[in-house]
Amino acid sequence: MNIAKPNSYRSGPDERGHFGIFGGRFVAETLMPLILDLEKAYTAAKADPAFQAEMNGYLKNYVGRPSPLYFAERLTEHLGGAKIYLKREELNHTGSHKVNNVLGQIMLARRMGKKRIIAETGAGQHGVATATLCARFGLECVVYMGAVDVERQQPNVIRMEMLGAKVMPVQSGTRTLKDAMNEALRDWVTNVHNTFYCIGTVAGPHPYPTLVRDFQSIIGNETKAQMQEVEGRLPDSLVACIGGGSNAMGLFHPFLDDPSVEIFGVEAAGHGLTQLHAASIAGGRPGVLHGNRTYLLMDADGQIQDAHSISAGLDYPGIGPEHSWLHEIGRVNYLSATDDEALAAFQLLSRLEGIIPALEPAHAIAKVMELAPKRPRDHLMVVNLSGRGDKDVPQVGDILRGKK
């Protein structure tokens, strides 16, 4: 591709929220004043040492950071190639990387004086993280979740309710994450005066893709320091799964300007790329939805198509705009893994390492199974283990017992 390489891959977006042609602010007028306020509040918070100090305190003592960087010895032996490290985001409080971002946004909401928090969730991990921090800070919490996902992610629905959140099953459209996001936007337009919309991924109108990335970049920053400590150098490759892409962006971003580091994002190929899937880059093209321009799954008329993935957290027809840009500019390699490949990886990691991963990072593990054997033994590969599999145990159990 004939695109000039930038001096830095980390300086975006521009002042209008664009990463190349991607990103932007495509929302109803009602929301614009609030989005501009949010941008101001975030800029001020970033420059305020007290905000950072308070956040660091909660990250350490409430979330449990830093998360370990663990050498997966048995997986490495089994695959017979690269030395594989797991970044253990599943050990965070609430069981996934989502809590990093939610903590940041809830602290912003408090600065802005908002008392009511809304969120959308697919697998329920973002919903659980939001419900948790709303409980901690005494804020009203409403979580929109597709009715299909409410069904397949029951453990997380129960957790959110125990934490005092109201879970709203969404019956419109495909009744999954995309429709939950539509309903959350409708709620926000209606209650804009007192409500903060806590977006769960690096998508949505500017400044969300930026602020979510910044809050998640702690993953990559820690990885860099930890790898330096154990191996004395940078990793050679990074692998992470992508739905909207927040865990991936958090790991990737601090390494984008290190040219020696190969980076792989793994989309959900569902039943396969020629059938039902959720791989927006592999099977989509640029369009405008949910406040940003990005790669989307759609038909010839620009109507958004249904996504499918075994993992509710990846089941979204779009991807964060910065990923779209990194794809077009060629800095990150975007691959995909099918439902079956993810299931096989889920079992392999459970049996070899005693770690039951969520179905989302099982997609990343699936590609590690392909990539690692082709790399030399001194190649250092880091996989983001973005969430733990407790929520998926009933679903995977049913599939493995042949019930579904």
Partner: protein, 278 residues
């Protein structure tokens, strides 16, 4: 340039009355019925027609308009067919202003320049694209103005005096004031609050101001018509259409009349109003 919208509002001003603006979804519940409804609206008293472009993910619309869009998509409605519908409407009516209302993605995928040329040829007068705020004016608003189409912007209760000039800068035809912070079909705003908002916007622009969201009855339409240059009714008409369908969601013999009769009643409400002196 003077568009059909400018001409219509100039006439209404001379007559000292407010506009009755109707919204229906293109292709709902099928192409033929939809064309008949659009043709019936001016006869029922509609001064301006807004025609919805169906979209899978209408983030700012309530359940009624969302369902209307899905009904249209189910019968295979597309943006191309929406423009054909406008062309067919124009065969018999060369004066009623027609505005397309929808979301950006179908237009972006169609191709902005090709869309503007085709829309102009088909007889479209203006565009209301919900998810294109002034911050994204380069996308469609400015090319539309160059192509001779009005780009009608939404102003809302959250659009304060500081922001209004930016919202109005490239707006033409009329200003669409959304009377509540909310989705289409939600509760109605208080007419007095609308009056204050219209007066506030009028301090910034000479364009006509039409008010929508939550107007369902002739009384409500009349109350708004007394305060603004036009009242927009959408959800009530879409609901009348839906209630006339058979169990499978297909049009019946009553469908076109159900919409036209409600429009006529609402038009009476608007036309009975005396507009506040400016």
């Amino acid at each position: 340039m003077t568009t059909r919208i400018d001409t219509r509002f100039a006439e209404l001003k001379k007559q000292g009355r407010s506009a009755f603006v109707t919204y229906v979804m293109a292709g709902d519940p099928d192409l033929g019925t939809s064309l008949s409804i659009v043709k019936a609206l001016p006869k029922a008293g509609a001064d301006v027609i807004e025609l919805g472009i169906p979209f899978t993910d209408p983030m700012a619309d309530g359940p009624s308009i969302q369902a209307a869009g899905l009904r249209a998509l189910k019968i295979g409605m597309t943006l191309t067919k929406t423009l054909e519908l406008v062309r067919d409407f124009r065969k018999d009516d060369n004066v009623t202003p027609l505005v397309l209302m929808g979301y950006y993605n179908p237009i972006y995928i169609y191709g902005v320049d090709k869309f503007l040329a085709d829309a102009k040829t088909a007889g479209v007068d203006g565009l209301i694209i919900v998810d294109l705020p002034p911050e994204e004016d380069d996308e469609l608003c400015i090319p539309a103005l160059k192509a001779g189409l009005n780009f009608i912007r939404l102003a809302t209760p959250t659009t304060d005096d500081k922001r209004l000039p930016a919202v109005l800068a490239n707006t033409s035809g009329f200003v669409y004031y959304v009377s509540i912070a909310g989705i289409t079909g939600a509760a109605a705003a208080d007419a007095n609050a609308v009056g204050e908002a219209v007066a506030r916007i009028k301090r910034h622009t000479r364009l006509p101001i039409c008010v929508g969201f939550g107007i369902r009855t002739p009384e409500a339409a009349r109350a708004i018509a007394e305060k603004a240059d036009g009242s927009v009714v959408g959800t009530a008409l879409v609901d009348a259409l839906k209630n006339s369908l058979d169990a499978e969601g297909r049009a019946t013999a009553r469908t076109v009349n159900a919409v036209a009769e409600l429009a006529a009643t609402l038009a009476q409400g608007v036309k009975g109003a005396k507009q506040a002196a400016e």
